[in-house]
């Protein structure tokens, strides 16, 4: 079943804000095996000009993915979650995510297309801090593979 293309342009307001914790950054950096001091050592981060330890570039996806999943699970959209594949992923950073940031994600469905039987959906996540300043824009392309026999 094709996705409802009228959902193009629909925006989903932020759920509760996400507070970026130093220990969560440390846990994430350890999980990707990255021992850069900028992620765990306040003095090293400050020496690089950051106000606090910063998060690895892909960390923010853990927030925006939750929000993109809220979109994906919108029952009116009619998306089969079980056939969902991550196609492309892009980040455009205004500044790095820092410990102490209180981040809010606004998700927008930028496009819905049918390509060779697959449904392709582009979701943009705009991540703002507590002051309302844009921190990073996250572009996620989701592909719903064609069901067998369709």
């Amino acid at each position: 079943m094709a996705l409802d293309q009228s959902f193009t342009g629909r925006t989903y307001p932020p759920a509760r804000p996400y507070e970026v914790g130093r220990e969560k950054i440390r846990e994430f950096a350890e999980a990707i095996g990255d021992d850069s001091p900028a992620y765990v050592d306040m003095a090293a981060a400050k020496e690089l000009g950051h106000p606090d330890v910063i998060a690895p570039p892909t960390f923010v996806f853990t927030l925006t993915f939750d929000e993109a999943m809220r979109v994906v699970r919108d029952p009116q959209l009619g998306l089969d979650y079980g056939r969902l594949v991550h196609g492309d992923q892009k980040f455009h950073y205004v500044r790095p995510v820092c410990a102490g940031d209180l981040l809010s994600v606004t998700s927008t469905i930028e496009s819905i297309k049918s390509l060779a039987g697959n449904e392709v959906m582009d979701v943009r996540g705009d991540v703002h801090d507590a002051q309302g300043e844009l921190v990073v824009t996250v572009h996620t392309k989701l592909v719903v593979r064609a069901a067998e026999g369709e």
Partner: protein, 144 residues
């Protein structure tokens, strides 16, 4: 933001130090917990095979994070990354054996984009088992 590489010192075509990153099942379980992505295709072989995969596969975002390390280690400041994008072309299959899988990353400076902003584009090649697992893998970095 203080990259440790000077824009003036970088030439187009220059290669960044290549790296190989091992990944086994324990790595994936740990990444699942840290990223809160608990999709069973990343830890449950039975489930992965039921949905048509050859075996458990690594999170695409894990592979993307590994590739980024080649760029951030080179730049010296992870905060110097301005843009980063990839296409997930093939999965990294992670067998349940002593070795697991290897993600191999090479990178070179593809272009000097803006002399005033001191930004360069780094083009990444990311393979596992000799197959390209990320496509269109590019980062823009602001240098010193």
């Amino acid at each position: 933001m203080t990259a440790k590489v000077a824009y003036a010192d970088v030439e187009v075509g220059a290669e960044l130090p290549a790296r190989s990153f091992p990944v086994d099942r324990a790595t994936l379980v740990r990444y699942a917990g840290a990223s809160r992505d608990f999709n069973p295709i990343h830890w449950n072989e039975r489930f992965a095979k039921e949905v048509g995969l050859p075996d458990v596969i690594a999170h695409g975002m894990f592979t993307m994070a590994q590739a980024a390390r080649v760029v951030t280690d080179w730049a010296g400041d992870p905060g110097a990354v301005v843009d980063y994008g990839v296409r997930f072309t093939k999965p990294v299959v992670v067998p349940d054996d002593a070795e697991g899988a290897l993600i191999e990353v090479s990178a070179k400076v593809g272009a000097k984009l803006d002399d005033a902003e001191r930004t360069v584009r780094v083009d990444l090649t990311v393979t596992s088992e000799g197959r390209k697992v990320l496509g269109m893998s590019r980062a823009v970095v602001r240098l010193a």
